[in-house]
């Protein structure tokens, strides 16, 4: 079993007002200069029965594309995974 994490964020070059606002109004008061870019996104976690890490990740990628879990015009996805025994994180 693999725990596959799908992270959806705006593409590079596409604005992220939420991340910008968090940086400008929450972080910069105190941590100015230390924190560079801040990005907000969506996180979806799948438990996948698969033979390999590759198989698990490409399945999630395919689902994300077919089912429009993200809009390729605006978003990019990051897919990463780790092997788990019983499905607990």
């Amino acid at each position: 079993m693999y725990a596959v994490e799908l992270i959806i964020v705006n593409k590079d070059g596409v604005r992220d007002p939420e991340g910008e606002t968090i940086k400008r109004f929450v972080i910069e008061e105190q941590y100015s200069g230390i924190i560079g870019e801040v990005k907000a996104g969506k996180y979806v976690r799948f438990l996948v029965e698969a033979k390999s890490k590759d198989e698990a990740e490409s399945l999630v990628k395919r689902i994300a594309e077919e089912k429009r879990l993200f809009n390729p015009i605006v978003h990019k996805i990051i897919v990463r995974s780790e092997r788990v025994e019983d499905g607990s994180p």
Binding site: V14, P17, V74
Partner: protein
């Protein structure tokens, strides 16, 4: 370099300048001369719209962003409509949201406080793609409108395969301002400082040209813009705070700084130092700064002594505000970057694109007729999503904010809003792609008439309108003919009703992926003042009176969209619309009715849905319907000039109608009970249809 200019236009630029423009200059000309900014294919005909009239304070001819009309006690109503069709096709959430942001800035750039929004949405159907589009469009509009605290008070929703690839997302906004405090968008004197607020980024580069081209798929990414409603709210609040301290203001829309600066200078000149523009991303080139279409920015012309005070209001919110240049008397638009001249062009060249009148040709229209029984037609029409209850959409809007929404969205055919002077206005947007597809001229008249009737149905008389003309590629003769015809129709009707068209927009290149144009979809948004009382309609037991003549006109209707055309094209007989509307307003003031509805989509049958859905049965005697004996026409004809009225005094309507020169007939009654239509005493149970009417969108889209 991607330009939309034709070789002829480029030749004209070269010969006027007597030199080859540099790349940045080409981009500036391209933006200013784009269809989106210059109206070069439409202006000749737009000039036939009646733009002046009693009460008009500011109209389109003034080169302003939105029109304004007097609503009494020194107050003016500012009105504007715009679409965001192409951006919404690729990113419906951000496309629709940025559309709302843009229309709001058009209103505030007149110094007016936005008080209501309308949204008119058209998608292909309730298939997977249509659902994805619609859900995201509504969520995008809700996100922006709610976040900035402007209520969405009404709109339209239509499902037609013609919009499958090219959805239409129209948003309209009304605002209020003291007439004496309206801020112009152009300057009259040199020496004023140009102040830019908001960050400039890479997003939306080339959007004006994008809107002026047809959709070609995935390569349009650069033009996608991300909505930032929070920044939009700051911009609204701070702009309205400083409106008394600026000499002119303009929002940055299509064509970015290039267009805003040139149009604001309005024949005078401007010098802009691009290195002073606050940037969101590092390393933008001077050309990119000039044409970037980043949202949530405004340009002000300010006297030197007021600059500090203006900027302080923005800095209070941690929002960038910089002097980027000044207005000069020499009529040239000059952009420099760190001392180097990037663009230097004569104002007049930029403001005078060549106008086009394209070839025209009448489209041959054929319609296949499908056989259908009355019962089947009734079910199919009543189950059509165009007529469905729109609570699913409205409930996502914060329509109570502002504590002035008197008649709420969905409650009647128009919303009613209270103005700061205590008077009330009604607003409504109307389009009719079915009729426009068969006769754009009659359709132009009909949509103005429909909007006028919609306002009358709550007690208001139309005082001003804006139009939005949405068509395919103007270079196609059949498209251009429809375009011209619809303007003629709108002009005539607007003149007839004395409702000036105080602003408008044109959107061409709305096509499917095979290059077929959408059905012509001109749209009218009208505002009216309540004359005396307004109506909060409620369905009760009573008599059904039909005002007006029902004609055998099934072509260009929802019925013909589904079953093909029969009979004639519904023609607009404006006098009937005017007289019937006046009678309705009188009836509201004398409390002679509890509920009424103008008859439009789905005909008489369609207008029964809200009655049936309120726990009532409807009895209709078809012989009492004046004008036709054809049962399909009686039920589904969309002839104008008609209202269905619920009253306990039908006699009053008969007398008043004959005094006015129109007809009224008591065609039946409404009784408490389950949803059934008794057609000449034959019961047609409609519980399934009514159940679906109430829950269709919720079920399909939740």
């Amino acid at each position: 370099m991607m330009l939309t200019l034709s070789s002829k236009e480029m030749e004209l630029v070269r010969s006027t300048l007597d030199r080859e423009p540099n790349e940045a200059e080409w981009k500036v000309v391209d933006a200013l001369w784009s269809e989106h900014c210059s109206y070069k294919s439409s202006k000749t005909f737009l000039r036939s719209l009646p733009t002046t009239g009693q009460g008009v304070i500011m109209s389109v001819e003034d080169w302003q962003d939105a029109g304004a009309v007097d609503v009494g006690d020194g107050w003016a109503l500012v009105l504007k409509v715009e679409s965001h069709n192409h951006p919404s096709a690729v990113d419906p959430y951000n496309g629709a949201a940025t559309g709302v942001g843009g229309i709001l800035r058009d209103i505030i750039s007149k110094g007016a406080r936005p008080i209501a929004l309308l949204d008119m949405i058209r998608v292909g159907g309730l298939d997977a793609k249509g659902k994805w589009l619609l859900k995201n469009i509504i969520a995008g509009i809700a996100s922006y409108g709610n976040s900035v605290g402007v209520p969405v008070v009404g709109g339209e929703l239509s499902f037609d395969p013609t919009y499958t690839d090219n959805p239409l997302v129209d948003v309209a906004c009304v605002g209020v301002v003291k007439a004496s405090e309206i801020v112009p968008s152009v300057v009259r004197t040199p020496g004023l400082k140009l102040v830019l607020v908001g960050f400039t980024g890479l997003d939306g580069i080339g959007g004006a040209s994008f809107a002026s081209r047809k959709l070609s798929g995935m390569d349009e990414i650069g033009a996608v813009q991300i909505a930032d409603p929070f920044a939009g709210k700051i911009l609204i609040d701070a702009t309205l705070e400083v409106r008394g301290k600026v000499e002119a203001m303009k929002d940055l829309g299509g064509g970015g700084l290039a267009v805003a600066v040139t149009e604001m200078a309005n024949g005078l000149g401007a010098r802009v130092q691009l290195e002073r523009v606050p940037l969101r991303v590092k390393g933008m080139s001077p050309e990119e700064i000039i044409i970037s279409e980043t949202q949530e920015r405004m340009l002000f012309a300010v006297k030197s002594e007021n600059v500090q005070e203006v900027c302080r209001a923005f800095e209070d919110y941690n929002y960038p505000c910089e002097v980027i240049g000044e207005i000069v008397s020499e009529p040239r638009i000059t952009f420099t970057y760190e001392g180097k001249v990037v663009v230097d062009l004569p104002s007049q060249l930029l403001l005078s694109p060549p106008l086009f009148v394209w070839p025209m040709n009448r489209k041959v229209r054929t319609e296949e007729v499908k056989e259908v029984s009355v019962r089947e037609a009734l079910s199919t029409i009543l189950l059509h999503p165009d007529l469905g209850n729109k609570e699913w959409a409205y409930s996502q809007f914060d329509y109570e904010v502002g504590v002035s929404t008197l008649v709420k969205p969905g409650q009647a055919d128009s919303a009613v809003i209270e103005l700061p002077n205590g008077r009330q206005i009604a607003v409504k947007g109307d389009a009719n792609q079915d009729l426009c597809e068969v006769d754009a001229y009659e359709c132009g008249k009909a949509i103005v008439a429909e909007a006028f009737r919609n306002l009358a149905s709550v007690g208001a008389r139309g005082i001003a309108a804006v139009d939005h003309l949405q068509f395919g590629d103007p270079r196609k003769p059949e498209v251009y003919q429809d375009f011209v015809d619809s303007i003629r129709g709108i002009s005539e009707a607007a003149k007839f009703f004395s409702v000036p068209i105080v602003g408008g927009k044109v959107s061409f290149h709305n096509e499917d992926k095979n290059g077929n144009p959408i059905k012509p979809t001109p749209l009218i948004v009208m505002a009216g003042l309540v004359e005396g009382k307004y109506l909060k309609p409620r369905v009760e037991e009573g008599w059904l009176v039909l005002l007006g003549i029902t004609r055998n006109e099934l072509r260009g209707t929802l019925f013909s969209r589904l079953f093909g055309g029969r009979g004639e094209v519904a023609r607009a007989r404006l006098m009937e619309d005017l007289l019937a509307s006046e009678l309705i307003i009188k009836a509201i003031n004398e409390s002679k009715l509890t509920w009424n509805k103008d008859i439009n989509k789905g005909g008489l049958a369609g207008s029964l849905l809200p009655i049936l859905a309120s726990g009532h049965a409807v009895h209709i005697n078809t012989k009492a319907v004046i004008g036709t004996r054809d049962l399909l026409s009686i039920l589904f004809s969309e002839s104008g000039g008609r209202f269905l009225v619920l009253t306990d005094d039908p006699h009053w309507f008969h007398i008043q109608a004959s005094r006015k020169g129109i007809v009224a007939s008591t065609i039946g009654k409404v009784t408490k009970g389950k949803a059934s239509l008794f057609l000449d005493d034959v019961e047609l149970p409609l519980e399934r249809e009514v159940e679906r009417y109430l829950n269709m969108l919720e079920e399909e889209l939740s």
